[in-house]
């Protein structure tokens, strides 16, 4: 016959189960870490970052094919530590923030990639949607999920750099994106 104490322990463990199950969905934003980009100007790579973004990953390592990754980036938060360049970056020639305030990434299904994973998703930037592969590694912690990775995209595929900026001698076409995040379970973060 179960004692009340044993019953209580089982009840407590049972109560935790839904948490464990939904903890497959993790989310974060600019508070969770850094989302950087690296462009190459005249042979010199310089860093920039996005100060406003949201990340959501639905991932169960047992069924990676059902994984989902969604990222939303506020294009006006692009920051390269130089006011003059940021102004150009926000203008119609680059992100065109008035017309395209958000960039979105959506991937369904992850594949093994060495120690990590690769998401073959689509990035919508400045109104253009193109496939972009995002590589990442996951480091589960007690309360958070470490997510670190990056992607390389070609800015001109998205029309990032109009007019004179469409040349690649002084501003190269490939741009690297890198992120290092510490995500929280969606339930914990959304509960009051």
């Amino acid at each position: 016959m179960a004692t009340p104490l044993t019953f209580r322990i089982f009840a407590a463990l049972a109560a935790l189960l839904p948490c464990v199950a939904v903890a497959a969905v993790w989310q974060g934003d600019e508070q969770s870490g850094a989302l950087q980009f690296f462009a190459t100007q005249a042979g010199a790579k310089f860093p920039g970052h996005f100060g406003m973004f949201k990340v959501r990953i639905d991932f169960d390592p047992a069924v990676p094919a059902q994984g989902r990754l969604d990222v939303t980036i506020a294009t006006r938060s692009a920051d390269t530590a130089d006011a003059e360049r940021d102004e150009v970056l926000h203008s119609q020639d680059f992100f065109w923030i008035e017309r395209f305030p958000e960039a979105k990434y959506h991937a369904e299904g992850f594949k093994r990639d060495g120690m990590g994973w690769i998401a073959a998703g689509n990035l919508t930037l400045r109104g253009v949607t193109q496939p972009v592969a995002v590589r990442f590694e996951l480091k589960p912690g007690a309360l958070h999920l470490g997510m670190k990775g990056g992607a390389t995209l070609r800015r001109l595929e998205f029309g990032i750099g109009q007019g004179d900026w469409a040349e690649t001698t002084w501003l190269s076409d490939p741009v690297d994106v890198a992120f290092d995040l510490s995500l929280l379970p969606e339930t914990a973060a959304t509960s009051p």
Binding site: Q41, A42, G43, A44, K45, F46, P47, G48, T80, A81, D82, A83, E84, R85, V88, D164, W165, E167, T169, W170, L171
Partner: protein, 182 residues
């Protein structure tokens, strides 16, 4: 003309380094003036990138000149008044200080504005300071001020050389020329 200095004049290595730096400084002032009048676009980025590459080249040549000067000391000054000899030594030292200060403040300024320096798109140089708009503004002013001092000093240097050559007729200009001026 021998490679090394003789008591009468500078050798071909010292002369080449001297005139190469003069030519590159003219290029530098020209590129800076052109870039200053451009809106931010690929052309400005490219012009400033060239300015930075040439600046780093001058920094390298300045180090080479100092090393060569140590290895092969310059010929003694021709006869002139003691204050003139002293002024010559001070201005030469000032030139060397500027040949280091100009590229270094420019490099720091590039780092402070998060426009890192590459040498002719071949090698990217490390950043000397972290991005900092206020520091960038200050370094820009310092860089420009030193450039004005350089122009003034170069003018003085040229006038002094011409005075010694053509008024004092002590053959000073010939020391830094591959041929004897008539």
């Amino acid at each position: 003309m021998p490679l090394r200095n003789s008591p009468a004049r500078y050798g071909s290595i010292a002369q080449t380094l001297h005139w190469l730096v003069v030519a590159l400084l003219v290029v530098q002032f020209t590129l800076a003036r052109i870039a200053d009048n451009m809106p931010l676009g690929p052309d400005k980025v490219g012009t400033l990138a060239r300015h930075k590459s040439v600046g780093i080249t001058i920094l390298g040549l300045a180090m080479l000149r100092l090393a060569w000067r140590w290895f092969d000391p310059p010929p003694p000054l021709p006869s002139m008044l003691p204050w003139q000899a002293r002024a010559a030594r001070i201005s030469h030292a000032a030139f060397y200080a500027i040949l280091f200060a100009m590229p270094l403040t420019g490099w720091m300024m590039s780092s402070a504005s998060n426009y890192p320096v590459s040498w002719f798109s071949l090698v990217q140089l490390p950043d000397l300071v972290a991005p900092d708009p206020a520091l960038k503004k200050l370094l820009h002013e310092v860089h420009e001020t030193i450039s004005k001092i350089l122009i003034a000093l170069a003018g003085l240097h040229l006038l002094a050389a011409l005075k010694h050559q053509f008024l004092d007729r002590n053959g000073l200009l010939f020391r830094m020329l591959p041929w004897r001026p008539r």
